[in-house]
């Protein structure tokens, strides 16, 4: 599945509040303590008088419209240069592989962002995704929020379509720093490599939607409970079939509960957070399914064509294999963020550890396989542990950069991951940023790989899969190293 990277700062918020980007962001998308409160307050703070206002008989506000809606245009471009051209995968005819790609745009979005009423606000984004080549619904977050008069208790409800998009810290989830990254933590980008990651990072727009309730006490203790359900783009049927599963690599079965707790302590120019989260998800993976009806038809066809054309396979009732094979994921995470937001200097140190336990459906595991095609997991239970740490520094919000290290390890599963079965990956991101204007950012990034899981890199696949590149035997992870020149802007 392809998860778009969330857009960063949103000028409509600045227009609505009258505050410059630096009120809410160190550098977008990383939030300051003020920015966190603004988001948790449902994006409702406004200093703009209404153009249209209506009230009911009890003087209760029933409509509140400003002169202009909070519309934003966001664009992200990138030019990526790989360490070497990937092997020719043209089948059956040869293709021509180049060592670079130009995403123009990588993403182009239109968004509404801002207050809808005094207690409701929204972020609704429509994005053209350069890799998908199509326009689709991107991140949506609609919030209701209220607080006590003394601001000790703040609470809210969020309806969103991207697990972790609602979060306000940046050590984990959709706004993890580094954010301008061609390598999504969930799956691949345009770079040569893609990387395995926990399902926590993969439940995004077009795949799921959820609703959650949260409370923030004394600007320090945050607690949230959410539940996500599959919400496949392009269909409204409760029936999950092979086609819809194939579209997103799978779907959630029923609701996936998610809990989040975090504690923030601010002093002077400093803000520190430590948090934990847990997700339990029943996931129906995409696989070659055959229903009982298809089985009967196939058996009849096979019986009718005993010799030529018959495949000789006769399915037994035990091999009936409906969509409904369910893998059970449990993701437990710890995250942290330290931020120094001074008059001239900004430091950050943030990251997370996520441990995932994936209990595979008996129907899909080799030893207990009952399906029609072939098993897709070697182990009844797989595990994955992802560790990410990022250090960053910026001067006067103009110059800066970051270094980030990501390492994923897990139980070897040859059927799921190919080759030696290891899901492991390890890479660093080095980034230099030049921000001449706060809504215009130039990015030079170098991603360096030490380990890439076997089936995640074109360079790691076996030679036989590249009939047009017979000499292609070099499977070094470093082949995936990528230079990225990026531009991010919004207005």
């Amino acid at each position: 599945m392809l998860v778009a990277q969330p857009a960063s700062a949103i000028p409509p918020f600045a227009r609505q509040t009258g505050l410059a980007c630096e009120a809410c962001h160190t550098l977008p998308p990383e939030l300051t303590p003020f920015g966190r409160r603004f988001k948790l307050s449902g994006y409702t703070l406004t200093t703009r008088p209404p153009l249209v206002n209506d009230i009911d008989d009890h003087k209760k506000n029933t409509l509140w419209l400003t002169d202009l809606p909070g519309i934003a245009v966001l664009a992200q471009l990138n030019y990526s240069h790989y360490n070497r051209a990937p092997p020719d995968t043209g089948q059956p005819y040869p293709a021509h592989a180049q060592s670079d790609t130009y995403q123009f745009p990588d993403q182009f979005s239109l968004a509404y962002a801002g207050a809808v009423s005094d207690k409701v606000g929204a972020w609704m984004q429509l994005t053209y995704n350069g890799q998908a080549g199509s326009v689709g619904i991107d991140n949506i977050d609609i919030r209701y929020s209220d607080h006590t008069a003394d601001n000790k208790w703040l609470w809210g409800i969020t309806a969103n379509n991207y697990l972790t998009f609602q979060d306000v810290w940046n050590g984990i989830g959709s706004y993890t720093i580094p954010n301008f990254n061609t390598v999504s933590l969930a799956t691949g980008g345009v770079a040569g490599a893609s990387t395995t990651g926990p399902i926590l990072n993969a439940l995004g727009p077009g795949v799921v939607a959820g609703i959650g309730a949260y409370v923030f006490y004394n600007d320090s203790l945050y607690f949230e409970l959410s539940a996500y359900h599959s919400a496949v783009a392009g269909g409204n049927s409760p029936v999950v079939d092979s086609v819809s599963l194939a579209a997103n690599g799978g779907a959630l079965d029923r609701f996936a509960p998610y809990a989040r707790i975090a504690y923030e302590y601010d002093w002077g120019y400093n803000s520190a957070e430590v948090g934990a989260s847990g997700l339990y998800a029943n996931w129906i993976p995409s696989a070659s399914y055959i229903s009982a009806q298809q089985q009967l038809a196939a058996n009849a066809a096979n019986a009718a064509a005993t010799a030529p054309g018959g495949n000789g396979i006769t399915y037994t009732p035990a091999q009936t294999f409906n969509p409904g094979a369910i893998n059970r994921y449990t993701d437990l995470s710890v995250d942290w963020q330290y931020q120094y937001n001074g008059q001239h200097n900004i430091f950050g140190l943030l990251g997370h550890v996520t441990h995932e336990r994936q209990q595979n459906s008996d129907q899909l595991v080799a030893a207990t396989f009952t399906g029609a095609s072939s098993p897709i997991y070697s182990n009844p239970t797989d595990t994955l542990t992802q560790f990410l740490i990022t250090g960053e520094y910026f001067r006067n919000r103009h110059y800066g950069g970051l270094v980030s290290f990501t390492r994923t390890t897990g139980r070897s599963d040859p059927l799921a991951n190919g080759g030696n079965g290891s899901p492991a990956n390890q890479y660093e991101t080095f980034e230099l940023d030049y921000v001449p204007w706060l809504n215009f950012r130039l990015i030079l990034q170098y991603d360096v790989y030490q380990v890439v899981a076997n089936n995640q890199s074109p360079f790691n696949l076996s030679n036989s899969q590249f009939p047009n590149s017979p000499g292609f035997t070099n499977i070094k992870a470093g082949n995936n190293n990528t230079w990225v020149l990026g531009l991010w802007m919004d207005y």
């Binding site: 600045a14 509040t17 009258g18 505050l19 410059a20 630096e22 009120a23 303590p33 003020f34 409160r37 603004f38 703070l45 406004t46 200093t47 703009r48 008088p49 209404p50 153009l51 249209v52 206002n53 209506d54 009230i55 003087k59 506000n61 409509l63 509140w64 009423s117 005094d118 207690k119 008069a149 003394d150 601001n151 000790k152 600007d219 601010d266 002093w267 002077g268 120019y269 937001n341 001074g342 008059q343």
Partner: protein
């Protein structure tokens, strides 16, 4: 259709729209048309809770955590009123004034400004914080009380800000203020990013070391109650 529309427009919505329009051109609203969710009619503590508290002390106590934002608890009411008006008319134009307060103050009425200033000035001021650098404090005390002699000539702060820096009228209370905030303002005054003819002249020759010393000293002061 027209009748229905006109009927609706003659009801409170047209009144509210007219008031909203009036507000955008800076006219104060009648006090009896108070719609609580409307920030343009909030007063005093409500307004502080709605907007100011997000940076200047979340519980409304006027004590900011980050030194980017000044502590306002116990600040001189007249000073606050004057500054809010200067910010609203965009006369005060240092970087943080532009980034934060130009927008926040843009739709405030004179009444609101007065009520916010009164609210913050009524809060108990902070007490001075102990310093772990007595030498720096001593140097700061010397500058605060005696200034810097010719030829650089920095006027002594005590002359206007008072013995314990409690301030008066348009002269701000600095006692217990974040040293980082006061230091930044002194830099702004010295470079004329923040314009105040008196302060621009007074600190035009002050050095970075002297700013560090005097702001450290100010942060240790506990002011006497306002006269």
């Amino acid at each position: 259709m027209d009748g229905l529309l006109m009927n609706k427009l003659t009801k409170p919505s047209i009144l509210a729209a007219a008031i909203a329009l009036a507000c955008t051109v800076g006219t104060a609203r009648p006090a009896d048309i108070s719609l609580p969710p409307d920030p343009s009619v909030l007063q005093g503590q409500e307004l502080v809770s709605y907007a100011c508290s997000k940076c200047h002390g979340v519980s409304g106590n006027g004590i900011s955590i980050s030194p980017i934002f000044p502590i306002l608890a116990g600040q001189q009411s007249i000073y606050l009123e004057e500054q809010l008006k200067l910010l609203r008319q965009r006369y005060r134009s240092d970087p943080h004034a532009r980034a934060f307060m130009w927008g926040i103050s843009r739709a405030l009425t004179d009444e609101q400004i007065q009520s916010v200033a009164t609210y913050f000035s009524s809060l108990p001021p902070v007490t001075g914080r102990p310093s772990n650098n007595p030498a720096l404090v001593a140097k700061g005390k010397e500058i605060y009380e005696n200034g810097v002699p010719e030829p650089r000539k920095v006027i002594k702060c005590i002359e206007c800000h008072g013995e314990t820096s409690e301030g008066t009228n348009t002269v701000p209370r600095l006692a217990g203020q974040h040293p980082g905030y006061v230091a930044l303002q002194l830099h702004y005054y010295r470079s004329k990013l923040r314009v105040n003819k008196l302060m621009n002249r007074n600190v035009q020759n002050i050095t970075d070391d002297e700013i560090a010393a005097v702001t450290e000293y100010i942060s240790t002061l506990t002011p006497t109650p306002s006269p």
